[in-house]
């Protein structure tokens, strides 16, 4: 986020409000404040400089504001102004309204919040001009709803799952996350049969049943936070992939760390946690993308194409 006055003022008011909520005498570390605001410690320090300057001399509106830097962090609190966050800005309101409008049951709430938050644009106009999806089909929605309940209530889920090549098989799983990547939903779960974490594509679940048996979350499970985490697997190898000159310019932007070949092809290295996933991803480019190595991955694509 660019550090313009509009962002800094919002952030400073949020910081004052947050710090005024609790015990105003106990210092908070710069790291904790940075985590709360989603910024760097340097930014928090720079915001505190502003607050120190503001309270440098007595001003009627800021007389009850207390700010001090201590050995372990800083103290900040107000008994007057800025004990609540500011109203939503136009973009913040837009983001909330867009999010609500994408669900079947969010439209009424979007209209109500839009009117109350005022700065939010009219929900009807947003609904006409913004959309994101795809909306999961009925079957996928049902599976996701059960997976979310299992995750939140820590109850086991019995899946009849059909992977890419295997026959449908029953698996009892402990759901930890629901992850969406480009319109595909995954249930990230501990699989009792595999005794390991597995990523289940929701549309490949043929049936699901919520069991009454509880599970204890495995603390060692690393949550998926970015797209690359979906590819993470202990046995991951790397594939060298070449893109033809026709599509190289787009791939160069997506993967700027690649290598140019004299004939115009663009080479990149991609992790291979699941060969099926990589093959599907590359086959969308047809013969404009080629796996150069490892040979095992080439063989996999050969078999897949048939």
């Amino acid at each position: 986020m660019t550090d313009l006055a509009e962002y800094q003022v919002q952030r400073i008011v949020s910081l004052i409000a947050w710090m005024s909520q609790g015990d105003r005498e106990t210092p908070v570390s710069f790291a904790a404040a940075a985590r709360h605001l989603g910024v760097s410690e340097k930014t928090v320090r720079s915001d505190l400089e502003v607050l120190l300057r503001l309270t440098d001399e007595l001003k009627s509106g800021l007389a009850s504001m207390q700010v001090a830097i201590t050995a372990t962090g800083f103290i900040l609190g107000s008994l007057g102004a800025f004990r609540r966050p500011l109203r939503l800005t136009g973009d913040e309101g837009l983001a909330v309204i867009i999010g609500l409008l994408q669900s079947r049951d969010g439209q009424q709430l979007a209209r109500r919040l839009g009117a109350l938050l005022e700065q939010a644009p009219r929900s009807a106009e947003v609904d006409r001009t913004w959309a994101f999806g795809p909306t999961p089909g009925e079957g996928v929605s049902r599976v996701l709803a059960l997976a979310r309940r299992a995750r939140d209530e820590r109850r086991k889920l019995d899946l009849l799952y059909c992977g890419s090549t295997a026959e449908p098989a029953r698996r009892v799983v402990h759901p930890h996350q629901v992850v969406q990547d480009g319109g595909v939903w995954y249930i990230i779960a501990w699989c009792e049969r595999a005794r390991a974490v597995r990523h289940f594509r929701a549309e490949r679940v043929l049936s699901a049943e919520l069991l009454s048996e509880p599970f204890d979350p495995k603390p060692a499970i690393k949550p998926v936070q970015q797209r690359k985490d979906l590819l993470d697997a202990p046995a991951a190898t790397t594939a060298t992939v070449a893109f033809s000159p026709r599509i190289a310019r787009w791939q160069r932007e997506r993967y700027p760390d690649g290598q140019e070949r004299p004939d115009g092809w663009y080479l990149i290295q991609l992790p291979v946690a699941d060969p099926r996933w990589l093959a599907r991803d590359l086959l969308q480019y047809g013969a404009e993308a080629e796996v150069l190595e490892p040979e095992g991955m080439r063989e996999f694509i050969r078999t897949m194409v048939g």
């Binding site: 986020m1 006055a5 509009e6 003022v9 919002q10 502003v50 300057r53 503001l54 440098d56 001003k59 009627s60 509106g61 007057g80 102004a81 609540r84 966050p85 500011l86 109203r87 939503l88 973009d91 983001a95 909330v96 867009i98 999010g99 609500l100 994408q102 969010g106 709430l109 919040l113 938050l117 005022e118 006409r128 001009t129 913004w130 959309a131 994101f132 795809p134 089909g137 059909c162 930890h176 996350q177 969406q180 990547d181 480009g182 549309e203 490949r204 043929l206 949550p223 936070q225 970015q226 797209r227 787009w250 932007e253 997506r254 599907r280 969308q284 080629e290 694509i301 194409v305 048939g306």
Partner: protein
């Protein structure tokens, strides 16, 4: 803190915070004269006496009001009668109520507020199911990522979770997205301004079908994120009808003059394009393509809600499906990973395209 010798530079953020605190401290309207002579940074030049400087302070105050409006803070003048030397004369006076500045209170219906309520503000009460809807909406908008409104979504969420701490999505609900190119950061804000202001946009667009990079002028009606890719639904000025443009294939976008504003038909809704598969997003006429898909791939296709089932072809769950295809290339490439499990029955040209694409791949992986 050590006092700087002479006049110190006051940043805009400091001036705004001073102004807001000053106005909040007065529960009655304050005249512009009083604001400009008492709020730090205005006061030095306002009090110096030269008319040029005072005029520049007035302009600065007007700019500040206008920029603060973007933050959701409205400082509008009230006409106020003053007594004394200018008895009976009306002057501009300003008042900032807590409702004009602070977020309304949010609460879960039936639950006592967790935080003290220091200001008189309205309360938004959410039912438990509305709270869950809002929480899922929060997770969804965060998926817009830093590229689009993700930063605004994150800051909105931070504000809303002040009263409702459980609103922040936990690790249990995540949306991930792939990288976008540098050009996206230039193009997207221009398209957004075009959609919101109904102003045409000029750009270069790479058409993959024609393998050509051409200048275009489009009227952007709406923006959508579908299957992880951003699209703009727009009317090209040189053609009839609406087209779907992939944002990542646009370059050098520029907003055209306000005079050329366009009108969007009342029945337009970008949502109607949302759940279309990539092969349904092109301009051409839709061709019905009949495909036999073996089990288990047929289940996945049905699970994703793609195609119309014509008949179940075998007891294991294979199916005969029909698809409306406007762009053959993405359709054929979608079928490739199914290997021999997917067989195009008709029309012949699509069947031949799939066979040719498979031959090219076989040659590549020989």
């Amino acid at each position: 803190m050590k006092r700087h010798p002479g006049r110190r530079k006051v940043t805009k953020a400091e001036r705004w915070l001073n102004l807001l605190a000053f106005l909040l401290d007065h529960r009655y309207p304050v005249t512009r004269e009083e604001i400009l002579s008492r709020v730090e940074d205005y006061q030095q030049d306002w009090s110096s006496g030269t008319e040029t400087k005072r005029e520049s302070v007035r302009r600065k105050f007007e700019r500040d009001k206008s920029e603060l409006r973007k933050l959701g803070v409205t400082i509008e003048p009230e006409r106020q009668k003053v007594s004394g030397a200018r008895g009976g004369q009306e002057v501009e006076a300003y008042r900032l109520r807590p409702t004009d500045l602070y977020l309304p209170y949010l609460e879960l219906s039936g639950k006592a507020p967790a935080q003290p309520r220091p200001y008189p503000l309205p309360t938004i009460s959410l039912k438990p199911d509305e709270f869950l809807t809002l929480r899922r909406a929060a997770a969804r908008v965060l998926s817009l990522g830093e590229n689009v409104l993700g930063a605004s979504a994150a800051s909105a969420l931070r504000k809303l979770s002040f009263d409702l701490p459980l609103l922040e999505p936990a690790d249990g609900e995540v949306v991930v997205h792939g990288p976008v190119g540098q050009a996206f950061h230039q193009v997207f804000p221009v398209l957004r301004a075009g959609v919101e202001g109904r102003r045409p946009v000029s750009c270069r667009y790479y058409s993959i079908g024609r393998d050509a990079d051409e200048p275009r002028v489009i009227e952007p009606y709406g923006l959508m994120l579908s299957w992880g890719t951003w699209y703009c639904v727009a009317r090209p000025r040189d053609r009839d009808g609406l087209r779907v443009f992939r944002v990542s294939r646009m370059r050098g976008a520029e907003l055209l003059a306000e005079e050329s504003q366009f009108t969007v038909p009342d029945d337009f809704a970008v949502r109607s394009y949302l759940d279309r598969a990539p092969w349904e997003l092109a301009d051409g006429p839709s061709v019905r393509v009949r495909v036999r898909i073996g089990f288990p791939h047929s289940r996945w296709v049905l699970g994703e809600g793609l195609g119309d089932v014509v008949e179940a072809t075998d007891p294991e769950g294979g199916a005969l499906l029909e698809f409306g295809v406007r762009a053959v290339e993405p359709f054929v490439r979608w079928l490739l990973p199914f290997g021999r499990q997917a067989e195009v029955l008709e029309p012949a040209d699509v069947r031949d395209r799939l066979a040719a694409e498979r031959d090219r791949l076989r040659a590549l992986y020989r």
